[in-house]
Each structure stands twice: as structure tokens, then as C-alpha cells.
């Protein structure tokens, strides 16, 4: 069993959990993910690691309630435990010195998994410019943390309530327009957002890394459910990724596949609500 040491609702439906998992925390690296199960009848759900504290032995997860499993996870309280927690999974981000100027883009709760990458980029001595996107100011997360490890932070909100009005690509365009020399973009967020970032950087020839979170069951390579077309190759996000060269990713297929279980997901959510597990 894995104990929830801290629970905080960052904004309606978006939660911060610190989970006690000392061995995972000891090995976790930026870019990796974990798979958890809330209870004995639960799904295995993959979540990207938002932070880790090797001394406290904790892994930080940020999640948004979207379906039955996240609803059940959100119903847990500080001090409660979840049954399974496996990781760290996937290849760590490629981070080293002298990479130059890195633009780290996080959209929605995608800011959370981009944070440890931006921090590691910063710790390796690279220049980090972060772009954070949200629908509106109230649901922007991790701003303070991102400011602490970034040379510069740009914010974009859909409604213009904070930062520039528009999308993360609007902010990215500002950087390009002012002549910032960008060596790499790392973008994490919804598929639509990552695709727009990739389309924006493609003509500029800027290396762009995206972190994918497709449907998966085991997370160790066995099921192949997380397969994604990357250039000419079929890759498994869990063992080959989760990060890939965004310019090679087939986003249409990726986003279509993420809808495979939509009807069942709705049914499961109803079920969880009806039997009162969600609250």
C-alpha cells in the first residue's frame, strides 16, 4: 500500500498528491512516469511524475478528474493509501550541459510534468524559458515553482485573464519574433496543443520534444496499447518514450486512439458516481 502524505486541490478538479514511495523516489528522473491503481477493482493508470523528493521519499502527482479512476483517486484523503504504485517507467528526458536555450511549454496540467524537466535543464546550466498555458488565470498551476527555475516565464490564457491572450503558441511566436535563438522546445499538454507547437516549430527547424500519454495497461512494454507512429516506425510510448521527436509523431492517429474507450469511460464514470465511490 502506498500512502497519500499530502493532498491539495490546486483548482477545482485539479489535485496535487504526494505519495509515499521511497524506492521510486530514489530512482525517479525527469520525464518518467508511474502506473497506479487506486483499489483492488481499479484500472492501471499512467501518470507522469510532476516532482520527486528523494529525502522525503515522495513522488508528486498532479491530476485532473476526467474519468472514473481519477474520480476515485480524488476521493481519497490525506493519510489514505492506494493499492499499487509502480515505477519509475519510461526513458528519462535527455538533459545535459550546453544544450543552449530550452523553451519548456506546459499546457493545462501539462505544466506539472514539464516542471522536473525544466528544473533539470536549469540545473544543468541551460537557459530555460518557460511558457505556461491555461484556459483562465484561476486554473494555472505551478507558477511559483516554474518561476523559481526559469530564466523567464511567459503565460498565455485563452481568455486573456493573465499574460498574453491566446495559446502557448502565441507566446512562443513572441519569442521567435523578438529574435530569441531557441535550441530546443519541450512541450507537454493535450494532443491538440502539442500538435500546434510542433506545427509552429517545424518551419523554423527547432528541435521539438513532446511527451505522450496514450492509453496503456501495464506500462512495461507488454500490452502494446500505447503504440504510436513515429516517422516510419511503430514505437511503444512506455518503453521507447514517453518522449519523442514531435516532428515525427502522427498526432491524428494518436488523438484518435485516445478516443478508443470513450463510451466505456463514460459508462465507468456513471457507475462510480451511482455507487457513490467518487465521493
Amino acid at each position: 500500500m502506498f500512502k497519500i502524505l499530502k493532498k491539495q486541490e490546486l483548482s477545482p478538479g485539479i489535485f496535487h498528491y504526494d505519495i509515499e514511495a521511497p524506492r521510486v523516489a530514489k530512482k525517479a528522473q525527469a520525464g518518467q512516469f508511474i502506473v497506479l491503481r487506486v483499489d483492488e477493482d481499479g484500472e492501471r493508470i499512467p501518470l507522469t511524475i510532476a516532482d520527486f523528493d528523494r529525502e522525503a521519499g515522495t513522488i508528486t502527482l498532479i491530476f485532473q478528474v476526467v474519468g472514473a479512476s481519477t474520480q476515485m483517486l480524488a476521493a481519497k484523503n490525506e493519510g489514505d493509501s492506494i493499492v499499487d504504485f509502480a515505477g519509475p517507467l519510461g526513458q528519462p528526458s535527455e538533459i545535459h550541459e550546453n544544450m543552449g536555450t530550452i523553451v519548456c511549454i506546459g499546457g493545462g496540467i501539462g505544466v506539472a510534468p514539464v516542471y522536473p524537466i525544466a528544473r533539470a535543464m536549469h540545473e544543468a546550466g541551460n537557459k530555460v524559458i518557460s511558457i505556461m498555458g491555461a484556459k483562465t488565470k484561476d486554473i494555472l498551476i505551478f507558477e511559483e515553482k516554474m518561476r523559481a527555475i526559469s530564466d523567464e516565464v511567459l503565460i498565455a490564457t485563452d481568455d486573456g485573464s493573465y499574460g498574453v491572450k491566446g495559446f502557448v503558441t502565441t507566446a512562443l511566436q513572441q519569442l521567435v519574433d523578438r529574435g530569441e535563438k531557441i535550441d530546443q522546445v519541450t512541450a507537454i499538454g493535450p494532443g491538440v496543443m502539442m500538435r500546434s507547437v510542433v506545427e509552429a516549430t517545424r518551419p523554423l527547424g527547432i528541435k521539438t520534444i513532446v511527451s505522450l500519454n496514450p492509453v496503456m495497461v501495464d506500462g512495461t512494454g507488454m500490452c502494446g496499447g500505447c503504440r504510436v507512429q513515429v516517422g516510419d516506425e511503430m514505437k511503444f510510448a512506455c518503453v521507447d518514450g514517453p518522449e519523442f521527436d514531435g516532428h515525427l509523431v502522427d498526432f491524428d492517429s494518436l488523438m484518435s486512439r485516445s478516443r478508443m474507450f470513450r463510451p466505456q469511460e463514460a459508462q465507468a464514470k456513471d457507475h462510480v458516481c451511482n455507487i457513490g465511490l467518487g465521493r
Binding site: E43, V217, G221, G224, Q267, V272
Partner: protein
Amino acid sequence: MALVMEKHKMPEQDPKVRARNFQEVALGYDEDTAVAEAERCLNCKVPKCRQGCPVQVNIPAFIGKIKERDFDAAIDIIKESNSLPAVCGRVCPQENQCEKHCIMGIKGEPVGIGRLERFAADYQLAKNEEIKPIQFAEDAQKVAVIGAGPSGLSCAGDLAKMGYKVTIFEALHVAGGVLSYGIPEFRLPKDKIVRREVENLQKLGVTIEVNAIAGRLFTVDELMGEMGFDAVYVGTGAGLPHFMHIPGENLNGVYSSNEFLTRCNLMKAYDFPNHLTPIAIGKNVAVVGGGNVAMDAARTSLRLGAENVYIVYRRSEAELPARAEEVHHAKEEGIQFKLLNNPVEILGDENGWVKGLKCIKMELGEPDASGRRRPVAIEGSEFELGVDTVIMAIGNGPNPIVASTTPGMETNKRGNIVADEETCATTKEGVFAGGDIVTGAATVILAMGAGKKAAAAIDAYLKSKK
């Protein structure tokens, strides 16, 4: 007394009924039938059956005890060589092993050795006897086993009985490996058989850690270093599913057999939404492949409510790698065999869902390297099979996680770990490997046989080091 030339029939659920439920197909012999079947054994002076068994169970001896109705003694004899008899009695390909060599099989049917093994194992499980934990010596040496599948479980069981303190590290949240995620409930019940066999091993004194992903949570070097293990056995099994690399494999409605079976068996998607893992099954399902896994996926599809389920296989019936019994059961249940057909493309609709499988007809040409006649496409014979679900059951490649994080342990060009056939020793001192990660996908019993050999070799290695 006249010889009974045919095996006593195995009581089974009616095909029409069972094709819609997940309960076990074969119901098992009762005591009288078991004794009557045991009496067919001629107790040969040179028991060839035993040579056919990958773990050399003393077959005539245990059958002799069943004849005498001493069922406890029978299972004790089996357990001397086989730590998972209730599993093997159900899923071993006996027709290619012990029963293939049975003298009774020359003029009639061989003795139902597998059915008798299952009977004896179930007899003991039903008694629910207390298992005495092993008393380990204070300074007992420690062995780590990676993977709680058949190979790891069998290796761990043998090592524990020799007095070694064994910890099995399992990546998934449940032990059993393919016994838990792959083989369906209707062939191998999970709670009734697999979980109990695993628990019995734990009661004996084997520690099992789930959610422990070797290569990520710790490396093999760390196991042998700071974690204090004296030897390691790698039994990580068959890993990554193969796809055909034909157009359309990323459409919705396409699964690997691993994903399909894992959702259903391990995650219990057949009981959705009480269990939260979903599975989407169409009305018409094509399963590509001809092995046991393909049969399992096809029969699972029926039970999930599919109306038409096809096995699409590029060779003919004679080459089907699946056990004859599985093919027979599948046919009885209404699985339709589309033999000598090879998929060339999966066709999708405007929403990204499967709407058909384009196949080409094949004929058999000259024998290939495997000795089987090579299937050759008949030009211009393409046709479309109307299906909305496609399951690829064409095998697995090795999982790279352990091998890629273990310097000094060699793999071959396919990515399988290189290990000595007799001792399972890898190129790294103190590290042994066996089962599918070494041989490529094979059977439960061969993996168990490797685990057993490795246990003996690890014992010899550790004694030499003391």
C-alpha cells in the same frame, strides 16, 4: 482384463453454454473416473512418458498411487518434480510430451496423464491443508528472482526447498505472469488455481514483491550489491507484442493479443464496470495467428459477446501451432477458421475505427527453414473480411528493460538473453536466466523446466562460493 483403448472422457461444459461464460471449460475427473483411467497405465519397465516430461515427473509412480486410491501420495510424488501441478495438468501440451510417448497411444489413446495430474493436484487443493513454512538457516544465502511467471515461480520453489531465502520481484501488481495476464479464466481459473499456487509458495517462505520493476526500481548490479543477493535468476518472459507492420494497425479496434487478454484476464474487463478496466469488442472479430494465444483471444471474444469470430492464419490446419485440444474446443464453440489467408491491410472507417480486414489467399509451397511448407500468396486473390475488431496474436519479442540495464549480460541479435542450455548461466557471474526471455515464446512447462534447471545450477554455484 481387457485393455480400455480410449481415454476416459473429460467432463466439460456444453459448448453452447460455455461459449458465453468465463467458467472453466473442463470440469475434471471424479475419483472413480481417475482410478479407472489410472488403471489403463501399463506401468512400463522403461517409462517413456517420463522422458517426454520437461521436468521428469515420476509419472508411473504417481499413477500407481492413484490406482491404489492413495491420492495424497500421488500428489506428493508429482510435487517432487513439479511445483505447479494444478497449472500443468491444465495447460501443458501433453500430446507432444508425456502422452506422446505412452505405449497405450500406439494402438489406442495414451493414458490421460495430464488429466490425472490435474485430478491429484485439485484433490490436494480442495483439502486446503496447512503448509509448513521452511525453517531457513540464519546465514542462508539469498537469491533474487525477477519475474513471477511459471519460470520464476518454479525456480523460487525449488530454491526455497533447498534452504535459500528467495525474493521474487514482479513488475505487475499480481504474481503469475502469463498464468495471470495471458491464459484465460476458462482454461486456468485465477482465484481457484493460480492465486492459490502462488500463496502456497509464499506460505512455504518465498517472498514476492509486486510493483517491483527490475531494471527501473533497481538494477541487477544493485541486487547483487547493496541489496545483498548472492545470485539472480531472470525469468522475465516474453515481452513486447509483435505487429505485422501492415497499414491500419493503429486504427481503433486493433489490439495485440497481450493487450486484449491482459484487459480481460488480469484486469477482469469481462466484469466491467465493476472492474474499471474497459474492453471494446465488436460484433465481428478477426484474430490473426494460429497458436494457443490466438485460440485464447478468439474464445475470449466469443465470451465477451462477439457474434462471428474468425481465426485468420496463413498456413493450413496441419501447421496450426495451437494444441489440438484448443483447436477442437474453439471449433466446438463456433470459432470460424479462415486458413491459408494472410492479412495485408486493416481497413478503417471515417472515424478511425476498423471496418474490415483485407486478406490474400495463400497456398503452401516448399518447406522453409522451420520444416513447414512455406505459405505463398496467390496473386490477385485479395478479399475483404467484414470485421470491426482485429486482434494480432503473432507472438512477442523480448522485453529490453532488464537486459539494457545489466552490463555484462549478453543478449543475442533478437534481444534474447544468452544463457547456457544446461545451467541457465548468463555471461554475467551469478546471474542466471531461463524461460521465454532466453528461448523466445514457448510453453509454461518449458519455462518451468528452465527454472528448475537454474535452481539446481544456482545451488551448485552458491555451494562452490561458500
